[in-house]
Symmetry: C2
DNA sequence: TTATTAGTACTAATTAATTCGTATGTCAAG
DNA sequence: CTTGACATACGAATTAATTAGTACTAATAA
């Protein structure tokens, strides 16, 4: 029996990123891209995409002989869910400590922050 | 055989957080705290802490009859590693998109950002 | 002294995640 | 028509993560 909780595992995320990028993809599309990165069987990719469909991350429809898969939800939305889950797990739900880490570890500089804040505000 | 890559799994993180909090802990300490949250066997906790030791996250020494476990690395350092891994996996290594998400999803407000930036800068 | 308690060591069972093989069907080229 | 390419369905093997059982030992309470 397949598990019940619906978080994206690392391998699943890898595939989802490809499908988001293309808008839609067949098993073969994904397979060929993954194959450039590592050894993998065609049917493994098929299984993963089937699982992603049952988990509600992908929708499929027939196109010619093969299935064409599309994302069921926009990337932003899913990624935000992953961020929320990460913050819950690591920081008990509070986002500030994450930012503190980002700044302290020099992954973000002050001017990046300013820029981003301005950007977001302008887009509203 | 135990796996080779040394990232903290969710359950392992849960235990590490307890040990960091206390500075040091026996299996029993951790067991009793976890038991308040869910059903778990004493030996399960023991196994996990042993794994954490072999992975290099905990050090042990005998105290009376039992082992006393201590963190092998400071919490900040390990958490930063987890953040880095998350950013690599989800955003291909770039931190800005993460911040954009945090701000857009209202998990961080502008004044929080300012405050944190000031705080970090003053502490240097 | 004896029985109980509290600990570890070692092994194993279970659940989840990942990968793959085989059977089968359909289409198109020859 | 037959063969090869390519697709899915289904089942299963493998690897990783999590949980637990049993045997044994040392300390201690009765």
């Amino acid at each position: 029996m397949r598990p019940k909780h619906n978080t994206l595992t690392p391998q699943e995320l890898e595939i989802m990123k490809l499908v988001w990028q293309r808008g839609a993809a067949t098993v073969r599309d994904v397979y060929e891209t993954l194959l450039e990165r590592r050894k993998i069987a065609y049917t493994s990719v098929m299984t993963m995409m089937k699982i992603l469909e049952t988990k509600g991350y992908l929708k499929k429809r027939r196109q010619d002989r093969a299935f064409l898969y599309r994302p069921a939800h926009p990337q932003n939305q899913v990624i935000r869910g992953m961020i929320r889950e990460f913050i819950d797990r690591v920081f008990n739900g509070s986002a500030e400590p994450l930012l503190v880490h980002l700044v302290k570890s020099r992954r973000l500089r002050e001017r990046d922050l300013q820029k981003i804040v301005r950007m977001v505000e302008e887009s509203e």
